[in-house]
Symmetry: C2
Subunit: 308 residues, 2 copies
């Protein structure tokens, strides 16, 4: 790799989610040269179109027209820009690039596929997280990966291949329960869960009685009515309950003996770190955006190797 | 008891819930002489007042001004008409009448108290169900009672005394998840859960993996994306998952060796009957409205015995 390569743009990496867009101008050595982000996720583009949004961001990045673009995430969903059919588990992560579909637009634009677990009793899907997995694992990695979020993912990987995975509606349940159920009276509007005693109490409750979630939710409200706890602690307690439920079941499904990588960010990453350590996991951490960029870079190098 | 008593109104029984009002003109032998119902629940009356609503319904029932009125339910909540402080568990059901509070209004109007389980690790409350319990149990009853609903209740009773109970947010979670989460795409709008194969599949899933609820919710969506199931089956499957989660945990908390009374009604009662039998419970059934009326009658006889 020459010094010139390190400063020269090699491709554009795009993480195109449901409600967010992030693009990075990348050098041949994986260095990030520029970034452009916005709220034009799949839901936005489904009505206004995908091509103009990409063009705008390429302009902001100062990317030349001949630079290839590699996209991961919901842009490849059926209701996205162009469908990139799921790869089915088990599948090697370094085979992702082979499932990329080309978009009929200006330049060389490709979208990476998601993964599907097409088993009737454990059906599951992901779009975007598979690229993060590629980013944070070596080609012979074996272990578990946890990716917290609206729909948290737990993935079991063996020698670089995704064996199986499970999605938990943790983040989305936090939002709908705190905004639309009777627990709206038990959680401060707009409150974010903080690390601390109420979070740990919710966590301990869920880990100790992992089948009792729908009872524990009502008890959160009853505890406040009876003066055992305060509304100010509601968000953290609810978060502890939901994250604890997720971890208790993931431990039952996948065990806690494998090394675990946590792909987290910010406050949510901190909450999961505390919860996973309290649950007995031995973990290492990776930043979520770095994981996406690194995964797009690895796949891009496989697709356009001659440019790197 | 004379024949005249049987046809003469003795008191008015009122079940005043969060969003519904039901009143019955009752004879001294427990016969229902007339009924009046409406949507003026606690939420409605909190702004428009309780006394005018009661007066209207007493008029519709043709109740004379000197007839006493006994109320159960949310009218006795802190945000209701007059607070009827909770009785604390353990408490005998035939002591409910002693906790009734009188309302300062025209005539003799009293509100029965709810029950509270004031334990810091298992806080819980009920208002209205305690009266149904009184209605369906003999004074020496021992066993479990299940009352399905927005907030389902499981109650353990020993020799006529409520020992402990647990509330599950089953009905409310069905509503908020099917209306406000990604599962809105997996459930037909306004669909009601039907008894059948999808319900039984959800039930079996929850009973077989009782810690996996937040994973199973996402799998419901994934199964449709991958063609394993249809949107038309989503409501029944979701209902099976939530009811199964409730039963699996109640069985863990209370055991399945005690006789169980199910206080149900309509479609929901049928779903619970099927689910409880499939879960190994030995159950008898009572109608929910009859349970309320019968409980109000038993308490009224204790309060105004001279009239009966």
């Amino acid at each position: 790799m020459s010094a010139a390569n390190a400063a020269t743009p090699a491709f554009v990496a795009v993480d195109w989610g449901t409600s967010s867009f992030r693009a990075w101008l990348m050098a041949a050595d994986g260095t990030e040269l520029a970034e452009s982000r916005g709220g034009e996720g799949m839901l936005h583009c489904a009505t206004s179109g995908f091509a103009p949004v990409l063009r705008d961001h390429l302009g902001k990045l100062g990317a030349s027209a001949d630079l290839p673009v590699l996209i991961c995430g919901m842009a490849g969903a059926r209701q996205g820009w162009v469908e990139a059919p799921y790869l089915h588990t088990p599948t090697r992560l370094d085979a992702l690039h082979a499932g990329a579909v080309s978009v009929e637009t200006d330049g060389d634009v490709r979208i990476l596929p998601g993964l599907a677990q097409a088993r009737s009793h454990q059906p599951d899907v992901m779009r975007g997280e598979e690229t993060q997995l590629l980013g944070v694992t070596e080609s012979d990695f074996s272990g578990l990966v946890c990716i917290p979020g609206t729909h948290s993912k737990w993935i079991r990987i063996d020698a670089g291949a995704v064996i199986d995975f499970a999605t938990y509606m943790t983040g989305e349940l936090f939002a709908v329960i705190s905004q639309h159920s009777i627990l709206m009276h038990a959680v401060e509007p707009g409150a974010a869960a903080e690390d601390g005693a109420p979070f740990r109490a919710g966590l301990a409750s869920a880990l100790g009685a992992p089948t009792a979630l729908t009872n524990a939710l009502f008890r959160l409200r009853a505890a406040q009515l009876l003066g055992f706890s305060q509304r100010a602690d509601g968000a953290a307690h609810l978060s502890g309950l939901l994250i604890g439920s997720e971890i208790a079941d993931a431990r039952a499904q996948f065990g806690d003996h494998l090394p675990l990588r946590l792909i987290g960010a910010g406050r949510l990453g901190s909450l999961y770190r505390e919860a996973l350590v309290a649950s007995g996991f031995n973990l290492s951490e990776c930043d979520a955006e770095q994981a996406s960029r690194r995964g797009l870079f690895k796949a891009a190098r496989q697709i356009w190797g001659a440019r790197f």
